[in-house]
Amino acid sequence: MANDRIAKRMELKAPVSRVWRALTDYREFGEWFLVRLDGPFVPGQVSRGQITYPGYEHVKWEAVVEKMEPPRLFSFRWPHPKSFEKSDAPPDYSSKPTTLVEFRLEKTATGTLLWLSESGFDKLPSDRRLEAFRRNDGGWTQQMKNIENHVAKKP
């Protein structure tokens, strides 16, 4: 893995159009990403909402939609605030260094190949990265284990 980007690929047993809808319909996105969005994704516009991930319900979601090129490319930029701690003031998005999240879809014999990329970490100031690491170390992992168990029980 390079030091400035994350790249993932996933094979999904669903048609491209179905995967596209799960990514770009704001209600469906919210169901698996675990965020309650205020409204639809619109290229060039800010998307706002509230995280519904257990333990992080105080965190606001904010992203700027970049591209929606059905059914192949969906991208947005989002900021990485200094801290998500409950005890702190709301996350400080003010100086807004952002990373770019890109979803790319490819049709396959069995369904869809999804590519996920998040890039631009090299542009985040080091104090922001370190703070995020410190506050998250262990916390997210445990919470995510919880939700994984929950989802496994209720597919």
């Binding site: 893995m1 030091n3 994350i6 993932k8 996933m10 999904l12 047993k13 669903a14 179905r18 995967v19 799960a22 990514l23 469906e28 169901e31 698996w32 990403f33 675990l34 999804l114 996920l116 998040e118 970490f121 080091s126 990265r129 370190l130 995020a132 690491f133 998250n136 170390d137 997210w140 992992t141 995510m144 939700i147 994984e148 989802v151 496994a152 597919p155």
Partner: protein, 86 residues
């Protein structure tokens, strides 16, 4: 290559770092100062010599945060898969 030599964890002088390298002392000094300015290398002084050693913390810090975000994406994508394939 410079970083690899410095990876041994000990401090090196410019003379030691230039040894066996095709680069000139001047080029290596310039390179060291760039690495110093981004916080990967620390310069110290021992007697009349300038020594340089690797500070692994910035690199570890970037990797740590990236690993964290990467793990979060693994979980989110697993939820997407479950959502679509139920």
């Amino acid at each position: 290559m410079l970083v690899r030599k410095l990876c041994s964890g000990q401090p090196y002088s410019i003379a030691q770092l230039t040894e066996g390298s095709k680069l000139t002392r001047q080029a290596i000094t310039k390179h060291l100062h760039v690495l110093e300015s981004v916080g990967i290398v620390l310069g110290t002084r021992r007697g009349r010599e300038n020594l340089f050693e690797l500070d692994p913390r910035p690199i570890q810090e970037i990797r740590g945060y990236l690993d964290l975000v990467s793990e979060q994406w693994d979980r989110a994508l697993a939820r997407l898969k479950a959502f679509l394939e139920q």
